[in-house]
Symmetry: C2
Subunit: 140 residues, 2 copies
């Protein structure tokens, strides 16, 4: 799937991503980046709403795993997550997945193929402003 196809898929399946005007801008092995404009995602102080930042990072993780598995029969769910908010985001919201190692991805895929269930921990950086960490489980 291209970034545009992935964006359209998310907008169709998860209506809140449409309201957030979320956009997948890169979806490849070198980088996986999801953005959203401040206009649709600000809080009472005019900076990015914490709920939008955590939703953006949550979707970035989901989308990364869907994209890596490339298996339409996989259900991806989130088990737990944490967010650290260091400073306000005053412009575009930009979530960048920290790439797991090739070994981690291969082990995740292999476990999923063999058992129909696999778990992956992902870190997503919101530039220098916030950090998300989430545990995802893929199920067939």
């Amino acid at each position: 799937m291209t970034p545009a196809e992935l964006t359209q898929y998310l907008h169709e399946k998860i209506p809140l991503t449409r309201a957030m005007e979320l956009r997948v801008v890169s979806a490849n092995r070198a980088e996986f980046i999801v953005t959203a404009p401040l206009e649709a995602n600000h809080n009472h102080l005019g900076t990015a709403f914490g709920g939008s930042l955590s939703a953006l990072a949550t979707v970035a993780g989901y989308a990364f795993i869907w994209h890596e598995l490339g298996d339409a029969s996989a259900h991806v769910v989130i088990r737990d997550s944490s967010m650290n908010y260091r400073r306000p985001v005053r412009g575009e919201l930009r979530a960048v997945c920290v790439m797991p190692s090739i070994e981690e991805i291969d082990a995740f895929r292999e476990t999923f193929a063999r058992t129909g269930k696999a778990r992956l921990n992902l870190t997503v950086q919101i530039e220098d402003a916030a950090e998300f960490s989430g545990t995802y489980v893929a199920l067939r």
Copy 2:
């Protein structure tokens, strides 16, 4: 502020809460509850989107603190949060604040009044499906 006034305030200040159709249904010392319909907040599996659940809980905490402080000059920000997702939510999303003790609330208010800065940890339950924990800081 009544629940309806608080809902309107949130919809005006944080546009994503309007897209979520978030509603404050109780705002008093006995209970503080915020809901949102599944229709606007489902994921690709037809259950509640994790990002909506975390945004709902984040707002519930913000709104609880605004309401408790009753001080329009207070800025409330979130420092960190965590979510545990135990099971899917198949109907209305419903976030219930776990009430801090009177002593904790009083200490929070007193510190804020004296120093212009105070911190509070809040737990928000999404029924039996998920649990949110967040650290909020109020600043003048």
